[in-house]
Symmetry: C2
Subunit: 296 residues, 2 copies
Amino acid sequence: MEKVGFIGLGIMGAPMAGHLRAAGYELFVHTRSKVPEALTAAGAIACTSAKEVAQRADIIITMVPDTPDVEKVLFGAGGVAEGISAGKVVVDMSSIAPVETKAFAQRINALGAQYIDAPVSGGEVGAKGATLTIMCGGEAATFERVKPLFEKMGKNITLVGPNGAGQICKVANQIIVALTIEAVGEAMVFASKAGADVAKVRSALMGGLATSRILELHGERMIKRTFNPGFRIELHQKDLNLALSSAKALGVALPNTSTAQQLFNTASALGSGKLDHSAMVHALEAMAAHKVAPDA
Amino acid sequence: MEKVGFIGLGIMGAPMAGHLRAAGYELFVHTRSKVPEALTAAGAIACTSAKEVAQRADIIITMVPDTPDVEKVLFGAGGVAEGISAGKVVVDMSSIAPVETKAFAQRINALGAQYIDAPVSGGEVGAKGATLTIMCGGEAATFERVKPLFEKMGKNITLVGPNGAGQICKVANQIIVALTIEAVGEAMVFASKAGADVAKVRSALMGGLATSRILELHGERMIKRTFNPGFRIELHQKDLNLALSSAKALGVALPNTSTAQQLFNTASALGSGKLDHSAMVHALEAMAAHKVAPDA
């Protein structure tokens, strides 16, 4: 059985690592702050550095906030690169920039090790329930080697392509999710201001061409005013920033992603930054001086 | 059994009227050009004017292109208003402006007759297959009276609210559909230009939060380059024009609907106006000087 390392034990990482330990994997962990007691009580071994994790584990998973965090944990002082050796695998499950991911993979490959980018969607609920969607980039043989671990953390697991493809897919996901929330928001504010019962409008649209998971879940949140996260606006802002900076580097125009980011900015200015991303509708409501429904 | 009138026998109206006749309704029809022979052969009675239809039928359905066409057919010379009498019902199944719809309903009510706005989605395929989604506005008792006719033409039939609510719902539908197509388009162009296999990206996203009927159907059309309509860009431009002019009247800002309309304009400029609305991706591709896949 592979020895597994897990670096980054935040809201997402802690339950993900817990599932691996519960499945019987020998688990070496490291995090910026303190390793959760539940993990060490379950038998996870706390290491003093990412380097030590890389020395003791065969497959080293990273789950940290952003691109610079991954770079630091892999290539900074006391980082994974200092402890890794040939035949091991780095699996970055953070959501970071696709272009930098390709460079990170090359630097890990140069040390004789393999790299898989494997960002997830599904949030805290998916992490706790082991129902994450996992979008992977890397070589097929390496993917197959890591897949049993993924299956302890998620359900919809896809090898999208070579290194970087997992991160590209995650960015595409976050673009579609944000813009579909925005679409439902425009429709709800329009219908409400026009005097219609938005709950009935939503029901009438479900089942037709306008149907989406977002209309189902986030449309309901807009109507019922249940904006507890879920997935926070401030996190989606980070992801759209990734989309927009990657788009600039690639020479792609993303007009509605750009507007959606501005609407997230407005929602944050209105005090909704820590609410669920469906609270983007606050920005559209502010622009129309109108609420879809009274605040709960 | 109610006597039914049907005014407007175009691509949508002809098969819809055909279903009513096939169900055994005595059917009085009128259209700007020539009544299709299939309808008269099936026993539909061609009338020389909308007025004559209104004189001879109990429930008078209109299915014409735009707001001015409805106004003309209802209130113009030889129109429905000249032939209608107390106890009859006007059912406008065209997709037109919600605000004008309320005014039309009041003018029909003033003649002692009832009014239902009942725009549809599902296009030519839905009209032929009797699987249209029908979004209704009007009084509950009148809706119940007309419902048996709707059930011959569609499947998902909802009374959304009072007069105008059906049209508001249809506008909301067209906003969501256009913006979800745009969202999928941005994600596909981004992923393709970033070097990913867009078909695999689409598969990885299906089942997650980015799932929608549009990702399923229109996402596939973008990848396979199958842009035969479906629903034409030039028709969706009409619908978004309705959304944007209604939004102006209501004091609602629809930032991404506005951009989507501009992208439809660009797609039309590129020669795609008569293609399926998924060809909006041509505009995004032109902006990135990049195609998701080679043209078929």
